[in-house]
Symmetry: D3
């Protein structure tokens, strides 16, 4: 069973530990992107995961591909071409000091992608032994360029045609969307193709004009509006400090809402990619468990574990997630 | 607007993380000194800050100057000459294990300073665009040598003559004061020149024989004793463990006492220089806000943030301090 | 005064900080073994400590000996010969993610030890200025090979003959014991020689068939069964997360039970070797204090402090342990 | 076009730089094995490369797979099972101090491989778009266990059946071959299947009893003895110091001998895997160039470049190798 | 005495030692730019050096300023604004493997500079105690954007008006110059203002159409063409390998040519910025020595020393350069 | 067989690799001292070595003792007391840039030693199994303080009384000798007790007024002047660059001169302690070989190998030294 994700992967550069840029001479290099993070998680869970993206055709692009492969993601459909490597600079906080990100992704090789470059038909058919069972995208991609938005729409529609479920993380970053279109113009067509979306009522209202006074009401309105849509999900985070958070998740299937337990994360090793870890856990749960309650719990536990792992990607195994999802937070040494 | 500080800067050597000296082969090198720490903080806040000190005339002295400049402090008035680089060795603790310091500062280049070496008149006049608006010293300096005490007195009196406000941190370390004089003999003349002092009632009694049963009473007695004195301030720390402290501050202006909120620091990344961060924050607040309550809150928040930053010096920005001073301890990621 | 310990020492390899093996290119190298950890602790407390083991006769064996000597343990009775260096791979967890160990110790140079190789008579007599006052072993050693079990029995019996007190940590790891014998066959003869054992009622029942419904009852039954036995001790750990534990200890002398306070460890820097740190603290207390209450408190405080120290071995000093045993958990900076 | 390699991959642990084990607390972790090194090189050159091996089913085995994937090698045919991770410990020398290796590979997961475990028919057929065009093995594999030797023979015979060329590096390490068979018994049947072998006249005489007074004579005698054999190749190294070597290669095709230029390597960054880099370069040349002289030159240049790259595997690109093979040793900065 | 330089400063990111991007997880961060490198060198030689540039108004820009200040360069005239931090990625080679650079400087904050932003009149007047005595630029700056070219011309003309000597490094990188103008259009007006230029006859011909069959002839033709020009200089590098180069320099004053000795650099620690180190050394020599032969020798020795120093900037002192310029290449330990 | 050495041990702090103090934030910590370096070398060669010194009674002193023990030196006779840890700061050069040392050893715990503190009689008798067979000192010790000189004289005279051979390295550093005495006053009495000295004719003339126009003549004159003296030895170094030296040694026994081969060291990893490595090799050779030619060759080869080892101390083994002394400089990999 195989899943496909599509989106930009950036080089992430951060000072060691909790140092600041002004005081360090060494940077730790990771790679990450919200969709690729989902792919890595699912590869760690044992699924076949393929990420589709576009990298510059030089040493940094090759390093990025190697990073994805190291963590089990297949890169044979990665495109290489002109344009920069997208970058982001992360300063990790602690206690009352927040983490901070400086993005530097303008005009990246990914943003220059053109629809014709990706042969979605071929990719989404998968291989004989590993048919594609899921396609995942997020609201970052259509915010980057018209080419990226078009290419994504092409992918979603191909998936729809092939009967592959599609999930979308309806994230909205207002400082992106620089190429002349608005999310209100672009997102609805993309959301049309989705089986599952991650988002909350404020977002539904802002982007789609879909209004509901509660998560359930707003979710039901979205399901009404988008006929393919079967699931709406969201997470809730309480931030006590940069080192101490709580997290829970809920999943609405049009009829019933399933809620996870509340997880405590203390200390927080790395906050980045924890939403993607939830998404990956939920997708895994929906594909493997046939039990919505268990799926949302698995997703929330996966997200909680990601907080203990350096980098953007969740390297937790199914066994580790299940231990936590089953309520064992003791962290007892395993020999 | 420019401020001037005066005092020894030491090389600080510590094992990485929470390792002990007995088990490490690598040391992290910082530089710090209670007065220079104040200068760095104020430079980070955007003021022009000049530190006056004396370094040995070799590679280590040049490295120390470079460290101060990197963090925005001007070093054109640093003297270079004979004598050693003062050093301190820090082992950082965690949980129930305390941090420990071994000082090695005897006979440093700074301790060999002589009054004639520093042209206070020139330094404290500042430059046309950046007149000096504050001078800061601490009780460490007069404890090091007669020369340092004399040179400091010269500086304070020059500041007084030029109408520049002076702050003193009345810290007393009994294992210093090895050169034959006592703080009781030396400190009063220095305190004469102060507008603001940092200290508590035990210290006021021990050093000046000024007695009061509460902070307010003792503060009022100090203000009575020293005519220039307008503010007395102090911090209060509760130590739950080496990784978990609470801190608050208060400021008395002879009439009213202004108290900050109580800040929780967990985890503590680096405890050193947190008092200096308070002092810098308070000075900044008094210079910029014309609001004593806001100034003491800004100082306490600055000190709380310093606990999250490796090294002696506070690299927090005004925006970060204000976020915390305004009550947002959530440490939420800033994109 | 001198103590002797006997057992395998392994090279411990772990990713830096809380990284996972899948994501690191660098490993931190320590050495440790439950009995040698006790020796290092006692050497840090100022006793003369000698560890007896067997290392491969190549660069890794020499590095291991050097590690023990660095921390004050004497290695003149270490044997060198054929066989591998025993290894273990440790992934350190945090929060809700547990630490994990992969052992790789099969067929180590230590497992190949033969009784004739160790001249116990000579070793346990010590030197004129430093007579041996204690011998310590654990249940790991007889689990490794018949040769190790025989050699240990020889050592215990020699100690008994020379009137040297013997302590045994009755740890049972079911995935060891691969050489064809069971702990039920081997352990009783070894326990015969003990003055003090560390273990709980479940273990006493499983290994010796000695039953008691409480720690005291089971301890009394053990003391009845083994005439040399004077003390039974155990620790109790509550695991809130991998970064937050609580620990207490109790000691039963056949008449009275002595309980330590409950210590909170947060954050936990390194969980490995904390039981050994307790054992070393207790042995030190029994040898030095002539006060069972103080001994068990010293042991528990030593164990608590070990949680703050990277590596298997406890590098806390007597003064640090006593500060904590006397109730000061504040971790206040020591200048 | 795709190539397949088969053999053990070990974790390689070495002190940073040129430190010795006795003085380091940190080890650098790489993975390598003579056959997998060839696969990585060919993947860097742009071919599709698949390595077949067997890893332990725990975190270290997963890390090893990730390492291969990072450098472009496909691992979908890697087996996981019982047994240890093979290890080797490398101390890198400099100048007059030689590098030293301690092997620790006994009873590895690979040595426990059984012929039935590998489905050679499936693997060597490759996929529609990427038919297998080469199979490579070395004399290390049959030296490890009967199972490894049997499994290898199965692979070679399958390749022969499918018409896939086979290369063998006839390396002989006398301290391996511990399982009761000799290379004289095992190697001839494996060599039967080869198109190309790497070795010299001393080895041909010792293992096969094939004698010749020169490389050409001995090579011709091997080609006479083994009907499939078309090429015999060897390298020649002059060791001026651990930091300064010279290297050349020659290839004999039964009629003519092709010699490379003599390459100077100074300084040498990492000597390990340089023979494998030659082999990979030669295979690439034979597959791509249809020009034996150019192929041997490409191989020798690839080997020379490997001396500048840390780790076992050659990360040089085709463009870099060609620059050097074309005679440009200037190392001029490329912007 | 003070000098002023103007140009872009980039963040330089490189793997540790001679690792490749594909194999590292850590990058070393330096900052550098050909003109700022000259400023740092001159600051190390004891002159007052001010660099004018434009940085993004976030943490990376502040880190870049701090880097310059650390090495003694004054940054009070640095502008902050929109645009990215220019970056370059450097992979350091060794032996026969060349170093490689990937530039990522498009649309940097510096490229967005506008002439009005820099108050050249104010900057080039210097301060009373430190009048400006030299202005330096290179051909990189006008290649970046029309704004940068205009701003530079403004600076050169202001320097001319104030009688400050100007030096220009006539470097030409054809992959820059993307904004629609050619060096043939832009460079002559800039060169008009120069007292000294660094370049060779090929460049003089290509950019200015000034032809000469030897360095002297071409230099004389340049001096004829540009009336302000008094000196033409160039270096000559022989590249034996990436770790072993030879370098010499020559200076022509319209009448006589002064040649330095030939310096051998082996090993080469860092090749970047060695041309800038020559320029700085030459400027220092011309300002301080009144002896052209000594100046060119000082420049060449400075450049040779730079090859031993990590980073873009030369941290050699005057004493070190003079030792080498005087012929002592022995590298004998100084206690 | 056991040897004893006496002298100061300093903490050595140096930037990583060839960085400069001005650019690093991390220091590598070693410990070393000319006499202790000899002890470590001899311990690596398998002899029992005891170093006598005096350390401050805090964490740094304990770390220093641990360092010596790690490398096999016995520290039971180390004294602990007041005074500082002696330090030195080393910047390692390369190519044409020389290494530089800043000493900071004034008023160290060692310099405060008093003769009564060391029980030479007890120490030099050794233990029953390990009688002392050699005592080594250098001219650094009497240069530090009157107490150190007195204590050393006491040690030499005790050794003489017990019939133990004594070697002295007659090194003269003019910037030491600050306590009011000259080497001309102090050294002769110390040299009286020597069997072997290391030094050259210039030194013999300057310190003892013993003149000879060649090494042999001057050596013979020294042997005439000091009746116990049997051997005079010296090394000769040619410094091509900081990375490339040549070294040879000679030994004169009053009748014949024995010369080693000339060793080439390229690259040089660490130059410090190479003279001490020679001394240790020579002492080992004289004690073990009964062959002066072989002894001087062993010493020179040991010194050559030390140039490849980071830190002050030589970690080469007897086998490694003999390989090189026997003429194998090839540095060929040892599996």
């Amino acid at each position: 069973m195989s899943i496909v994700t599509f989106g930009e992967v950036m080089m992430r550069l951060s000072p060691p530990g909790v140092e600041r840029f002004a005081q360090t001479d060494t940077l730790t290099m990771h790679f990450g992107g919200t969709e690729a993070n989902v792919a890595v998680s699912l590869a760690q869970f044992g699924l076949s995961a393929t990420h589709v993206t576009r990298f510059p055709d030089h040493a940094l692009g090759r390093a990025a591909s190697g990073y994805l492969r190291r963590y089990g993601v297949q890169t044979q459909h990665v495109r290489h071409g002109d344009g920069r490597m997208g970058l982001y600079f992360l300063e990790t906080g602690a206690g009352s000091r927040a983490s901070q990100i400086v993005y530097d992704r303008i005009d990246s090789a990914f943003a220059r992608i053109r629809p014709g470059e990706v042969d979605w038909e071929h990719i989404l058919q998968g291989s004989p032994g590993a048919p594609v069972r899921w396609f995942h995208w997020t609201g970052i991609t259509p915010a980057l360029s018209q080419g990226a938005a078009d290419c994504l729409l092409d992918g979603i529609q191909t998936a729809n045609r092939l009967g592959i479920p599609v999930s979308g993380d309806i994230v909205y970053r207002s400082n992106l969307w620089q190429y002349g279109r608005t999310p209100q113009e672009i997102m609805p067509a993309l959301t049309e193709g989705c089986t599952l979306i991650l988002g909350g009522k404020a977002l539904f209202s802002e982007i789609y004009g879909v209004v509901g006074s509660t998560f359930i009401e707003a979710g039901r309105a979205m399901i009404d509006r988008f006929p393919r849509l079967r699931y709406v999900t969201d997470t809730k985070r309480t931030s006590i400090s940069a080192s101490h958070n709580q997290l829970s998740a809920k999943l609405f299937d049009g009829e019933q809402v399933y809620k996870s337990r509340v997880y405590t994360m203390q200390p927080i090793v790395d906050r980045i990619g924890t939403g993607d870890a939830y998404m990956a856990g939920l997708i895994y749960g929906l594909l493997e468990f046939n039990d919505s309650q268990r799926a949302v719990e698995f997703g929330a536990a996966a997200s909680a574990l990601k907080h203990t792992i350096p980098g953007d990607v969740n390297l937790a195994t199914v066994a580790e997630v299940e231990t936590l999802a089953n309520g064992d937070e003791s962290g007892r040494l395993k020999r």
